[in-house]
Amino acid sequence: EPEVTQTPSHQVTQMGQEVILRCVPISNHLYFYWYRQILGQKVEFLVSFYNNEISEKSEIFDDQFSVERPDGSNFTLKIRSTKLEDSAMYFCASSEYEGDTEAFFGQGTRLTVV
């Protein structure tokens, strides 16, 4: 069964460092998303991406964050200068269509900023 894969599963980084979280969405999907879940809290929407551009972003997704689809398969989330409060589980998701369809989530990358 096709699945969304994320790497690494766990990333530890020093405060102020840049991190890139990687995702490989399902191959025929066109819509891509990043979500974040701080430990013990709900899953929060960060950004959606379609046709090589951001289609929607939340207020969490400030100038420190960027997304890119560098090639035909990868979808990345970059945090330029990490803060302690960026520590969270980051989920990538993809869907075939925008509307009435299931979004498939990856297993997540646990980011720990020290």
């Binding site: 998303y33 979500y35 009435d100 299931e102 979004a103 990856g106």
Partner: protein, 109 residues
């Protein structure tokens, strides 16, 4: 209540009993999905119910949707210890999913 808010927040039952979790939301939706998350792990999609559907079954899972009340319920029948997890509803609109706080289900063997 918030978009995609579940209740109860925590539920503890004995193996073999049924577990019912509820979700309420505020705005119009395309569909509503239920996810399961084991502690510290990824999200597992359980079931999707579209806005024009009222009930859906998948194995031991039964989901209902009442768009007039903006609410949904997830019923797990004949629960097992392995069902212990957090369960989230997520409302989808224009592709974006909005998650609730989740219900933590504990099934005691």
């Amino acid at each position: 209540s918030q978009q995609g808010e579940e209740d109860p927040q925590a539920l503890s039952i004995q193996e073999g009993e049924n577990a019912t979790m509820n979700c309420s939301y505020k705005t119009s939706i395309n569909n509503l999905q239920w996810y399961r998350q084991n502690s510290g792990r990824g999200l597992v999609h359980l079931i999707l119910i579209r806005s024009n559907e009222r009930e859906k079954h998948s194995g031991r899972l039964r989901v209902t949707l009442d768009t007039s009340k903006k609410s949904s319920s997830l019923l797990i029948t004949a629960s097992r210890a392995a069902d212990t997890a957090s369960y989230f509803c997520a409302t989808a609109r224009a592709g974006k999913s909005t998650f609730g706080d989740g219900t933590t289900l504990t099934v005691k063997p």
